[in-house]
Symmetry: D2
Subunit: 338 residues, 4 copies
Amino acid sequence: MRTGLGLHHYPTRAGLPDDFSAFAGRDVKDHHPRPGEFGETAHSVDRPDLCVAWVGGGVVFRGGLALGQQAGATGLTVLGMMSEAPKLTVEESQEVVARILKRVDGRVPVVVGVSAPGFAQIDTLTRAVMELGAAGVMVAPPGSLRTDDKIVNYYRQVAEVLGDVPFVLQDFPLVTGVQIAPKVIAWIVNELPTCVCLKHEDWPGLEKISALRADGTLERPLSILCDNGGLFLPEEMGRGADGAMTGFAYPEMMVQVVDLCSRGELIRAQDIFDAYLPLTRFEQQPGLGLATRKYTLAKRGIIAHDAQRRPGAALSAATRAEVDRLIARQEKRLKELN
Amino acid sequence: MRTGLGLHHYPTRAGLPDDFSAFAGRDVKDHHPRPGEFGETAHSVDRPDLCVAWVGGGVVFRGGLALGQQAGATGLTVLGMMSEAPKLTVEESQEVVARILKRVDGRVPVVVGVSAPGFAQIDTLTRAVMELGAAGVMVAPPGSLRTDDKIVNYYRQVAEVLGDVPFVLQDFPLVTGVQIAPKVIAWIVNELPTCVCLKHEDWPGLEKISALRADGTLERPLSILCDNGGLFLPEEMGRGADGAMTGFAYPEMMVQVVDLCSRGELIRAQDIFDAYLPLTRFEQQPGLGLATRKYTLAKRGIIAHDAQRRPGAALSAATRAEVDRLIARQEKRLKELN
Amino acid sequence: MRTGLGLHHYPTRAGLPDDFSAFAGRDVKDHHPRPGEFGETAHSVDRPDLCVAWVGGGVVFRGGLALGQQAGATGLTVLGMMSEAPKLTVEESQEVVARILKRVDGRVPVVVGVSAPGFAQIDTLTRAVMELGAAGVMVAPPGSLRTDDKIVNYYRQVAEVLGDVPFVLQDFPLVTGVQIAPKVIAWIVNELPTCVCLKHEDWPGLEKISALRADGTLERPLSILCDNGGLFLPEEMGRGADGAMTGFAYPEMMVQVVDLCSRGELIRAQDIFDAYLPLTRFEQQPGLGLATRKYTLAKRGIIAHDAQRRPGAALSAATRAEVDRLIARQEKRLKELN
Amino acid sequence: MRTGLGLHHYPTRAGLPDDFSAFAGRDVKDHHPRPGEFGETAHSVDRPDLCVAWVGGGVVFRGGLALGQQAGATGLTVLGMMSEAPKLTVEESQEVVARILKRVDGRVPVVVGVSAPGFAQIDTLTRAVMELGAAGVMVAPPGSLRTDDKIVNYYRQVAEVLGDVPFVLQDFPLVTGVQIAPKVIAWIVNELPTCVCLKHEDWPGLEKISALRADGTLERPLSILCDNGGLFLPEEMGRGADGAMTGFAYPEMMVQVVDLCSRGELIRAQDIFDAYLPLTRFEQQPGLGLATRKYTLAKRGIIAHDAQRRPGAALSAATRAEVDRLIARQEKRLKELN
């Protein structure tokens, strides 16, 4: 497969290209983060939760392209909106990105969140992380944006600022307050060639994926990677998404579900999904999700401890017990399924 | 058990009273809505989705008390915020409530949502529905309320307007925008004896239940019935909730989970809950949930059709197929469990 | 001038038609509400603040047209969003509208606010008030509307529900949360012939008026009447507005400013405006404005007393003293100007 | 008068201390920014709008105290929320603060806005600016804060992070979404000795000042400096405020009004205020205000040009003409008054 990772999702929908199942089946599955792999970086700089794993049909990202293919289109998103990244100083952010990029060493593309009120900030951070080896950046709209034209106009300016750096459009209305119609996403994608991916976090958002995948809407390929904590992943894949880009504590769930959906094994995909769902649901609680995820990751040995940046509340004993119980049930159910 | 339904939840937590398991186990389980029971009313007046079933340890409601006990503390909430009630004319609302109350005929308590910008409206609707036989009313705070004192003061005035009519405090920040601290709920409950129940819809909200159930917080019993579409029911019961008050299309899930939790059969409770969870999650999508629920209820034969009041979008064919698939899997899984 | 009141605003901008200055100069000025005129109605039914006076180049309203011309294009808006109308019961609302319409007796067009979550409610109220003699209705978008297409689609459905009843599009983002681009307003107006007027309450909103008045935007005349409490009236007139539709306690300010602007006496218009500005500014405080207006109207003898519907706070003694002082200064300044 | 500037506002209300009128009358009036004074700094680093002038009875600020007294309690707030500061990179912010502090050279206290999602960021910026000579910092609550206790708890943690650095509590609900009751402000002030000033931007907010100034509310002096663009300055002074801390393009208006109010010359204060009011009102338009202010400051020769940081819209020709006209009228009116 010679085109970029993002170039084949229409074939995916219409009939798999020869090498697709191999690519998605073999590599994606094997590449979910292992304890100590990306975790060590995080631990040693004491901000263990900055990485959001994403899986699935990827994005034509500069630099990360070849390795992304090898790796099965798995990548990382760092400095995301729902992580602790907003609580880091600029110096810490830069150090974290540098360490993660060094650790990843090009094996998978790394996308860096650069949303900011001013273009000077976006520009400065983008240049820094691209030099360090990032594959691209992610930009969410500022909360004050309303009306279709203002949204399009904002991304026109963003693309101009970014130059040839590929970017992910982050569509997360629950947090940003900005609702972007499918038509507007299509305008942006069709007009701005450096917009290579949609991070889809609208809720509800399934119809939006269908609208974007409808014939005649997008004039070129666009990777659609979904968030919502993975809570709708099977349906999102069914509507035409390429994968997930979110921070659930068990990225292997996403890897497997995306892989199985891509191979058409929908029943098995849903079985796996359902086994994790009680915890997925629990982690999706706003505000509490990050603390839960850190607790789980620490419990799994992937990060060293689950302390949160201040200000931030600790998990109560009751919550820890609830998570423990959900994990125990999850493991039991997964065994039944295997 | 001589006290009202709401009076025994501390014993519930500390050790079941003699007659509790019988009451909760036998009656609640048998009393979930059956096709044609409450549905007929809804169907014949063409607004099939006005009822929100609630289950679990109930409320000291005038009139409905005796029957509530017999019926196993099952009741109905009508004219709720997330139903189509806000789209009815006043005449239609009154007719709906009248028909439902006649149909229920005192077998279970019926709570009527009466939230409104002005006290004149609250007063008028309350008097009308209490005369028709409602057990009490439900009042959410107006969206402009901020600061602890303003919230307490609002409910003071509400209680004065309502006189001796018992009321449910509806705590639903995602929609109202009003955040009510556990301390503030306690102030309201401790000061206003007619506040007999909390409809708990905070998200995340588990710590709030624990805070309210902590020793010394509430000076008298309070029924806590949870919404959030039932998405956290096992954990809510574990924290000290008395039951559910929400509109999921399978109230029997809630009845069983509440019943099993009350009897301490937590594993079985969670098994049942998990079997429904993929659909519970799907129905919880904001805006889309009501349409999904109506589609499911119509499919189950409980209501005649799934059309929505205008303005309101119809479910797409893709969404219907997703729901169909989830229901088929749910039925299969429930069989495996039985 | 044989066309409707709304049909001549382009001529207004381009050069006054023969009879315009006479019509706007003589009649408008003389027709601001006098104590006991519309006030009596309000007083006797104890809801003195339901009327919002509007002035300026009006709207082609059925029924009210001829009298509107005679009266100098002055009219009334009742059951507006910022009045106490949302606190009335349906029965009270209907009584108020009936009494006001009877009292007005066709001398000026009366517009009735009918915004509601459901079309059944909009339909029912519209039919009732049109039968009573209203000239048209006013509809604000529901707060959940986002994206250009959804807004246009909503008004398409509204127009279908209203049939041939003319309506005012109320554009009030600060309260509704819905931002409507000038382009979207133009789409609505160009497509829906019954949309005859824009109630303009965007803040800031001057560029929006200019955008709508730019050549080629609107394909037919549209009356633009401004709110924002009158706080930007001279600039709004300069940008192409036709008048004001708001609730300041001294509608004669608006009548004079609109009249003077229409005649090109801009310096005098601004002098008059500036004399009232300290009070206009004070009345514009959110939440407090209505209480201030009722206090002032009661002080002027136009309404009987300034009590507010519950829930609602009374003005403090300090606030009353501030208003008294502002009124005293205003009267002094107006004398200096005359 | 040997106590800090903030220590005498109760005497101010109850009867002026001997040296107060001299202090407030002579120095404050003479110290409003002059062209080229603070402007030069801004100009040369191409971010001319970072300074917000504040005037009036000041704050016990470390370092800035003695000079603050000499200077007549005039100071500067930099990196404020409504300036272009949020669009600067961290490096630019630090450079701006450094240049301004060097330029000011201790003649007046300089407060630096340090609000941020994480305490690490607040801590880092605070240490940096305090070393450079800032008098204190300003902290607004994060937008997610709700309930009285959470607000108090947040400021407890802030005070702990800041150590002995004095801070201004910024109360700006329209932008932050956080409503802080007077009682909560009093809790914070009474408990945290380093909270030395309230930046008051609630709207409406006059009753809040009165509540704070009521006997028994505050257990120690608190400077209350008001924003709202200066739109309510005479009333705010009448309620017990100590001055203004806002960014109107004519800080001399605020200096004079505060001075005159402090000396009891209320009629003259209101006359001056009214002369500026048409422009004050115009500059208060959300989003547009900053552009208007930069245009005016450039027109006055205080800054070199009025370009805005991207993203940011330019003023239209129509808006410029409106501002020109308002300024011309303002100058004429001020001449009439002198």
